[in-house]
Symmetry: D2
Subunit: 143 residues, 4 copies
């Protein structure tokens, strides 16, 4: 993760750690990273001029199939973490978001992970990315 | 709250405080009490032989209109809090749950509060308690 | 709450409702408002040029003694709620934050509430606001 | 994960999905699984006659270094999920908990994952499992 080039396009998103997100060890609780990842991928989608909410309204849902996070250095209350996100992999009916969480200076990698999503319809049935979706996110054919 | 008789019927529910529910001050975070209240009122409903899920499936929804909590003594990680719940008030289309949160011995009152709910249908429109609901929870007329 | 003048100084804070903050009724879950209130009061404090974290480091802690929220209209996934905050009451060793949650246009009041806090030291013992604290937040004597 | 024998000793823990744990898609939100995993590993530890809280008081802390979850079938509001936990791997100063989340009947695997932990002291410095810890959890030498 340290050496491979980060996917493009990437976006950065900053998040202030709240009291409610910390635990009695004085750090950002491990499950909270998955909430922060969600905000980041929503922002990545929004950077294309559309909201994930609108995508669902058009019949594409992206449930998480797998999530992973590696925790290197902790974040504390009131820290302003910097989260970098991009799509590292596209399948016919799936995609994978990659995340890196840094400290405020963007020098120290605190954590990193990914979430893999399936493209499904309102009944949960998988189907390939529709054309309108590709036109927004994938202006060229999927390799 | 200390002196008025607790409503009947009441149920008790115990809850183990998890790491994720604590904050950096080392105590159960104040918003978590509202999650615990939810579990308690679900158990109170379930003690009548029906689940809140089944009640919703039958067309009665109980959104929260008001919530209140008073925090006296903190709870810490791994504490086994004891929560006492009952309905303190019935209206034509509303009800109020009362809660008391004790320590493991049930001697020390840690917190207390209430949630007031409206009876609404699937579109959010308020309506009076239907007969089937009253037969379960109110075997006598509402005063 | 609708007619009394809102306390000054006030700050506004916007919050995007995430998927994780909604519930199966499709709305912002009632306990999440208390997390949002926390972010708002932190911002109110920060608007004076100091963080709540620095205040704790100086020996002043503000545990919540009471919290209340009234829910009028729901907020949904991806809504950009607008939260207005100010201090409505100062005591010798306590204060009360007032909150109003609006929709994106600031026209519709979705919810409102307050949190009352005690001024305590690191051992939890209440004590009156120290001079340095007053100089920041209360340039004039407490009425 | 489906075919390899589950580690021993294992414990089972049941968890009722609350409204607050669901999201607007009507299912248990993906980050909530990590909260449930925490409860499960605490129960696994407790099955040896000691609490994780007591372990921390004795100077051993188990921060999460990596967490992973695979989501196969969703869980809904009020479902009574069954969580199976055991330690799949012991290192000199680390361990890995394995989790399987089933439906109420224990027939359908809903999700599975692991959390890997380091053994660290109160300052966060890693150190090998102390003798008293091994006597409780590892009556035989680590392979």
């Amino acid at each position: 993760m340290a050496n491979a080039p980060f996917p493009v396009p990437e976006i950065w998103h900053e998040h202030r750690v709240s009291y409610g997100e910390t635990d009695t060890m004085g750090v950002l609780y491990y499950a909270e990273y998955l909430h922060i990842f969600e905000r980041s991928r929503n922002n990545w989608i929004r950077s294309f001029g559309v909201s994930y909410k609108a995508i669902e309204e058009r019949g594409v849902f992206l449930p998480v199939r797998e999530a992973r996070c590696r925790y290197r250095r902790s974040a504390g209350y009131d820290d302003l973490v910097q989260v970098r996100t991009g799509v590292s992999q596209w399948g016919r009916a799936s995609l994978t978001f990659l995340y890196e969480v840094y400290d405020e200076t963007r020098l120290y990698l605190l954590a990193g992970g990914f979430t893999q999503h399936a493209c499904v319809d309102g009944t949960g049935r998988p189907f390939p990315w529709p054309d309108w979706f590709r036109e927004i996110f994938l202006p060229r054919p999927v390799a």
